[in-house]
Symmetry: C2
Subunit: 468 residues, 2 copies
């Protein structure tokens, strides 16, 4: 290597913002070649699709805390062992179980018509059938503005708009307010129940379920039901015609006491620094309405397949690669908090954490939240995975995915491989989240990006922790 | 007009297949201008969309023979009067009423999972809950090949493929065999119930309902349930894994005795030949799962709006234009047969009949089944409506739409304005058939094509009857 010349040249070139020289790269040519080979293997492999097919077919829907989620954990450990992970085990935790029960919901005025609704997570049962007039609220702000006690004997309906579509899912937060906190205001008003327009961007007749927020340590005492966007459109049109709206509603959803859930952990032990952990994963539980293919069987499949491809290499990377299949994510990140708590004495050894939990479409961007030196490593990784159609995103974006929040809050560095999400909220939390929505080639692109990225981070000596 | 020259020239040009000359055209320049003005008005008008919005919103789902269908008839007469039709009345008929009742259907082996199913029209109730193993049939042919009595104590499941997509709906007939006749073979085998893969081209979690065929004068004595394409995929995958499949099923669908249905008839009386009738229309009833927007609120709206635009002209066309809103189409063309019977003494005065009942997408082709001289008229009409994006189709295609079948079979000439149908069977007979699926501009294109075509046929002296 012509070191002297290259230093001079690099000094010059840095003025015009050129990249690092090869011999200054944090990635060796051998590592780069290995990463490229991993990508090529991943794009040819159907392992990822086979995993999500197996999970959705052999286990089916798997609500957090359910018997099905238990079967999913056993499936996860068996899968880890069959794929040759060095360790595979379950870490159980206790959680309160909420069950949807049976729902009847129908318009009774101006005429009888069945509505397509689902109880929201945490909603109370109706005890007996509710027959009441509907009070229409144009959006969540109209509901939050009511005075206490003004909805006695009524059912509140919060309309709004179908969720704004966005590649990044930016429409979710604003649209989700009515799901999160609507019940508190309906209860404050004395309403018998709350109905909301689904938090979803589609125009299909499926309601989108999802968890409500607690108010302090309190859950809702009334039934809370999401109805599909076309059903909400229908109520809006009738309301605009000044038709008197009334509803019949009977919901069996309720809390059922404490049950056992758990996280499944699969390790590929590092060859030089086995104590240092690069954590990837997804969540094993799903909502009960679909079969949890896109949310989040895909994430389980992508990260497990990526780790398996790395394990196929002649030599283990320096650091341990850990796949965590988080339990009970949908019902409040319960597995994520349980993991962070159980491993709180060892978080300094978690050199990076990231989760795949935004569907199964192509990855289009890599973001990071690591220290400046490690940021250069991620910049170099971004160049290597760029042929997959991935751009370098922000280097100061805290994230990593929902189940990574408790770890990121305690200082664990994160990256995120952003998936194309424009149609994610068409399917999200609906019965339509099934295997047929996954395009095998796009899932394989995800596996390729994870395999290359995680290998390069696991095989480096660079510390990723932020020094700020 | 240079008559002599033009005759010579036309003789010459006919050799090279040129069209008729203007002065030989069956359409006068004034008629052509009026047709063009009707198209321009239609494309600017939201009358069609307003009609289907009103029907789906103010009436909702309207199963043949139901109280809702009665409200729809009253709505139809009121609409006709408000729009200034010369006559508006109801012709009632009696029909047997089938009601869906409540359905519970869930997989119980290899694990518990709710399925998304709907009873098929004409299916019997289960009386008590059926718990039975599933016998898997790869397609309808596998079921029809069974020997008598070999399905005792079992539930038959007929798989197949999602319906083939086609602009013309050509996939419907083949896919529909399992819905039409499957029950006869399941019953012959002694099965407790039959489950079929939905007759639909989508990959959503909605089952497609629809009527079964009678066997002679006999309806099914067992429950028959359609499950969604993703549910059928799921059962196929489990079957291919050699998992033992079993089901729990309870269906309340049953016949409920005789009720009253009816056709709504709206006339624009002809100015010169009021006894000659150009019949257009759609069907007023819908399946109960959606709100019958695409099937067939759209057809009602398109034909009523087209007739109204013609009625707005300074002078009525020569012939009477009759809009028929047929009752009880979905449950066996009952309104169509009732109309043909009631008017059987006057069918020779029905100079043409056509129905809009294939959704709400653009019209792309005009087909006809009229005598050779009238075929030339349709050829000329095709040129006038061509700017709407419509090609001339076959001139020997018997048709006109489902409700026109009884009339066509008795010799009434037909045309058909073919709609783009590639995605029609994504929605067909599902809960997803709602107003949001209609694109107002495309509906207006339909109104434009109907208005121009029907005006030109109503204002001509040409007899359309086939002389064969």
């Amino acid at each position: 290597m012509k070191l002297f010349n290259s230093v001079i040249l690099s000094t010059f070139l840095s003025v015009i913002s050129m990249p690092l020289f090869a011999d200054e790269s944090p990635i060796t040519p051998e590592q780069k070649a290995t990463a490229q080979q991993l990508m090529a293997s991943a794009l040819k492999s159907d392992l990822g699709f086979n995993i999500v097919e197996s999970l959705t077919t052999e286990i089916g829907p798997r609500l957090g805390g359910s018997e099905a989620e238990k079967r999913a954990r056993d499936w996860g450990v068996k899968l880890g062992n069959e794929l040759g992970f060095d360790k595979a085990w379950i870490e159980e935790f206790t959680m309160p179980f909420w069950d949807r029960g049976h729902l009847h919901i129908a318009l009774t005025s101006p005429y009888n018509q069945a509505l397509y609704g689902s109880a929201l997570g945490g909603a109370a049962p109706s005890k007996k059938e509710i027959n009441a007039p509907i009070v229409y609220f144009r959006d969540i702000h109209a509901l939050t503005a009511i005075e206490d006690g003004t909805l006695q004997g009524k059912v509140a309906f919060v309309d709004g708009e179908p969720m704004v579509k966005s590649q990044t899912g930016a429409g979710y937060g604003p649209s989700n307010q009515k799901r999160r906190i609507g019940w508190q205001h309906a209860e404050r008003g004395g309403a018998s129940a709350l109905i909301i327009r689904s938090v979803g961007s589609d125009s299909h007749r499926f309601p989108h379920t999802g968890m409500m927020s607690k108010n302090g340590d309190k859950w809702a005492k009334i039934p809370v039901i999401a109805i599909s966007n076309p059903d909400a459109d229908h109520l809006r049109r009738l309301h605009n015609l000044d038709k008197p709206l009334a509803i019949s509603l009977h919901s069996g959803s309720d809390w059922q006491g404490d049950v056992t859930s758990g996280n499944v952990i699969l390790d590929i032990i590092g060859s030089e620094k086995p104590e240092e952990i690069v954590l990837i994963g997804g969540h094993l539980d799903s909502w009960d309405l679909g079969t949890g293919a896109v949310d989040d069987g895909a994430g389980i499949a992508i990260t497990t397949a990526a780790a398996k491809l790395i394990a196929n290499l002649p030599k283990r990377p320096k650091r341990t690669i850990r796949v965590v299949m988080f339990g009970a994510e949908e019902v409040g990140l319960l597995g994520a908090f349980a993991y962070a708590k159980k491993h709180e004495g060892n978080l300094q050894n978690h050199v990076l954490a990231t989760e795949s939990d935004f569907g199964a479409r192509n990855i289009w961007r890599i973001e990071s939240f690591v220290n400046p030196q490690a940021t250069k490593l991620v910049d170099e990784i971004a160049k290597i995975i760029a042929p997959l159609g991935i751009v370098r995103g922000g280097s100061d974006v805290k994230g990593g995915g929902p189940d990574i929040i408790p770890l990121a809050n305690k200082g664990v560095p994160t990256i995120r491989l952003n998936q194309e999400g424009t149609d994610y909220f068409d399917l999200h939390h609906t019965p339509d989240d099934t295997l047929d929505k996954i395009i095998p080639e796009e899932l394989a692109q995800n596996v390729a990006a994870y395999a290359a990225t995680i290998y390069l981070i696991a095989d480096t000596d660079i510390d990723l922790k932020a020094k700020r």
